[in-house]
C-alpha cells in the first residue's frame, strides 16, 4: 500500500468497489485526485451527488432516468406493444445505440444468481408481470446477457410470460456466449434484435 492515511485508504476502497476497477487502478485514481487542483475533486464529487440525486428508476420500465416516466416510456411514437427485457440500463443503452429498435424496454437490474443472493424477488420481475397484465403487449423480447445467469433468467421469464399468452422471443445471433450486451458492437446488436427467435 502506497499510503498510510486512513482517509486515503477509504478513497481507494471506494474506487475499488466500482466495477472493473482493480487495486492498482484505484490507487492511481486516488493519487490523481489528490494531486490534481482541488476544483477537480470538487467537480467530481458534486457530479456524483447531483446525478445520484436526480436520477431514479422509471416507474414504468425501471430504467434509470431524470424524468418519470423516462423519455422512452413517454414517447408515443415508440411501439408500446413490444417490450425488450434487459438486465441493466447499459443493455438498453447498447440496443438504443443500434438504432433499429422502436419498442419499449424493461430493466430487471440484474439476473438470477443464487451465489450473489439474487432470486426472482430481487429483480423487477413483478413490475414486468404487472405491465404485461395491464398493457396491451404483443411481444416480449428477452435480451438478457448470454451468460449462464442471463440464459436462466430468460428461461424463467419465458415460462412465466408464456402463461399469459404473449409471444416471447430471445435475441440470438452474434451475441457471444458468456458475454454481456454492452460488449457487442452496434451492428451485431441490431442484427441480434432482427434475428430473434421464439422461445419454446
Amino acid at each position: 500500500m502506497l499510503f498510510s492515511a486512513p482517509s486515503v485508504e477509504r478513497l481507494v476502497e471506494a474506487f475499488r468497489r466500482l466495477p472493473g476497477i482493480g487495486k492498482r487502478t484505484a490507487e492511481r485514481l486516488a493519487l490523481h485526485l489528490l494531486s490534481a487542483p482541488e476544483e477537480e475533486a470538487q467537480l467530481l464529487s458534486e457530479a456524483v451527488l447531483e446525478a445520484r440525486a436526480r436520477v431514479r428508476q422509471c416507474s414504468v420500465c425501471c430504467n434509470l432516468t431524470e424524468t418519470d416516466p423516462c423519455p422512452v416510456c413517454a414517447d408515443d411514437r415508440r411501439d408500446a406493444a413490444t417490450i425488450c427485457v434487459v438486465e441493466r440500463p447499459a443493455g438498453a443503452m447498447a440496443i438504443e445505440k443500434g438504432g433499429a429498435y422502436r419498442g419499449r424496454y424493461h430493466v430487471l437490474h440484474g439476473a438470477l444468481s443464487p451465489i450473489e443472493g439474487i432470486g426472482p424477488s430481487e429483480l423487477r420481475i413483478d413490475r414486468l408481470m404487472r405491465r404485461l397484465e395491464e398493457d396491451a403487449v404483443r411481444e416480449v423480447i428477452l435480451a438478457t446477457n448470454a451468460t449462464a445467469e442471463g440464459e436462466v433468467t430468460a428461461t424463467y421469464l419465458s415460462q412465466k410470460i408464456a402463461a399469459l399468452g404473449i409471444a416471447v422471443t430471445r435475441i440470438a445471433h452474434g451475441v457471444p456466449m458468456g458475454g454481456g450486451l454492452e460488449f457487442a458492437d452496434d451492428a451485431t446488436l441490431a442484427h441480434a434484435i432482427e434475428g430473434r427467435t421464439p422461445v419454446r
Binding site: 482493480g22 492498482r24 438470477l112 444468481s113 443464487p114 451465489i115 432470486g119 426472482p120 451468460t147 449462464a148 445467469e149 440464459e151 436462466v152 428461461t155 424463467y156 415460462q159 456466449m177 458468456g178
Partner: protein, 357 residues
C-alpha cells in the same frame, strides 16, 4: 505447427531465457531442478494459461519476484501466432498477435500443445477427476464450442449448488437451473462420447507401437446415460440433492475406463503397462488433434526416457511422426539414443541457463 521462439522472464528459475527450438525433435538435457521442466511448463502456460504442476499462479514467478513474462512465437500452416503472457501480482494479461484477450476460449487452440510428464500415469491410475480434466482440456483445444458449453455448465452447477444450500430452496428456481444444466450437459456428453470413441482407436494403435501386443481400449462412462434425459434425472434427484446440498448427478461425475486386455488398467495392469497406456492416450490426443485441426500440435515429453528401457524408448521415438515438433527433456547427459546422429537439436540447461549444444 511448431514453436519458433520462447522468451521467459522471471518464470520459475528461468530469469531470462530465450529458447529457439527446431521444427522436429529437440532434446533438452540437464540435471534435476535445473529448469528443464520449467521450460516446457513455460510453453504450456503460454499456450493454455495453465500449468501442469500447480493451480496457484503465484508459485510461478521466480523466488522473490512479483511478476513474470512469457512470449511465445509459433508457426502454423495459416501463419505466425504470437502469444504474450504477463503476470503481475496476481493479474494475468494475455495478448495474441498484439490483441488483448479476456477469455480463455479466445486463447485455447491458437497454439495446440500436448504435454506428457511422468505424473500423467494418473490418467490411468488416478481418480475420475484427473481423467475429466484431461478430457476437458483436450477437447477444448480442438473444439472451442465445447469449452463454451463447459463453462456455462460449470457456472450453472455452482449456482444450483448454492440454491440447494438455501434455507428454503425454491423449486421453481432450481428447475430453471436444471434446464440450463441439461442443455449444456447434453452438448458435453455428446462431444465427450465422440472424442473418446475416436481417441480409443488412436490410443490402441499407439499402445501397440510402444508396448506390444495386448489391446488397449478407452470406454466412455457417462454418469447419466446418453439415452436418458438429464433434466428428468436432475428432477428426480432434487429432493435428495437438497438433503445432501450438492448436485449428485450429471457430466461433472463422468469418467472413462482405460482397458488393457479388456480389463481395467487401473487395477489390473502392471506399472509398465499403465505408463505405456498413459503415453498412448497422449499420443492419441496428438493424432486426433491433427485430424480435427489439420496439423499436429506441439508435443512435449517431460522426462519420459528415464522411465522407459532402451527398447521402449526406441519404440516411442519411432511412434512419433517426424512431422511433429517434439520438445523432450532428459536427465541423461550422454547421448545413448544417438539423437545427435539422427539430426535432432540438442540443448543443455544448467541453473536456469540454456545453451544449444
Amino acid at each position: 505447427m511448431y514453436v519458433q521462439r520462447v522468451e521467459c522472464r522471471l518464470f520459475r528459475c528461468l530469469e531470462n531465457v530465450i529458447f529457439e527450438p527446431e521444427p522436429a525433435l529437440n532434446i533438452i538435457r540437464g540435471g534435476n531442478a535445473q529448469g528443464k521442466t520449467s521450460l516446457l511448463e513455460a510453453v504450456l502456460f503460454a499456450a493454455t494459461s495453465k500449468s501442469h504442476r500447480t493451480n496457484v499462479e503465484s508459485e510461478l514467478p521466480q523466488y522473490g519476484a512479483d511478476q513474470f513474462q512469457l512470449r511465445l512465437r509459433a508457426q502454423r500452416d495459416t501463419g505466425a501466432v504470437d502469444i504474450e503472457s504477463r503476470w503481475f501480482r496476481g493479474t494475468k494479461r494475455i495478448k495474441v498477435n498484439g490483441v488483448p484477450q479476456t477469455r480463455l476460449s479466445d486463447l485455447l487452440g491458437r497454439v495446440n500443445v500436448v504435454f506428457f510428464s511422468p505424473e500423467d500415469v494418473d490418467l490411468v491410475r488416478g481418480g475420475a477427476a484427473q481423467r475429466r480434466r484431461f478430457l476437458d482440456m483436450a477437447i477444448s483445444q480442438v473444439q472451442p464450442p465445447y469449452l463454451a458449453a463447459l463453462q456455462m455448465y460449470r457456472q450453472a452447477l455452482r449456482q444450483r449448488n448454492e440454491l440447494l444450500r438455501a434455507a428454503q430452496p425454491d423449486h421453481d428456481h432450481i428447475a430453471v437451473w436444471d434446464a440450463q444444466l441439461a442443455q449444456y450437459g447434453a452438448v458435453m456428453t455428446a462431444q465427450r462420447a465422440a472424442f473418446i470413441a475416436a481417441l480409443s482407436d488412436h490410443a490402441a494403435r499407439a499402445y501397440t507401437q510402444i508396448a506390444g501386443a495386448e489391446p488397449l481400449a478407452l470406454e466412455y462412462a457417462p454418469d447419466v446415460r446418453m439415452d436418458e434425459s438429464l433434466a428428468a434425472v436432475l428432477e428426480r434427484s432434487r429432493t435428495s440433492d437438497i438433503k445432501r446440498r450438492v448436485t449428485q448427478r450429471g457430466p461433472h461425475r463422468d469418467d472413462f475406463a482405460v482397458l488393457v486386455d479388456a480389463r481395467p488398467a487401473r487395477s489390473h495392469a502392471s506399472q509398465g503397462q499403465q505408463k505405456s497406456a498413459a503415453l498412448a492416450i497422449k499420443l492419441a490426443e496428438l493424432a486426433l488433434a491433427r485430424e480435427r485441426v489439420g496439423e499436429y500440435p506441439v508435443l512435449m515429453l517431460d522426462e519420459v526416457l528415464a522411465e522407459l528401457d532402451a527398447q521402449r524408448a526406441r519404440r516411442l521415438l519411432d511412434a512419433i511422426d517426424p512431422q511433429v515438433q517434439c520438445l523432450m527433456t532428459t536427465t541423461e547427459l550422454e547421448d545413448r539414443h544417438g539423437f545427435r546422429d539422427a539430426g535432432s537439436a540438442l540443448f543443455r540447461i544448467e541453473r536456469g541457463r540454456l545453451e544449444k549444444d
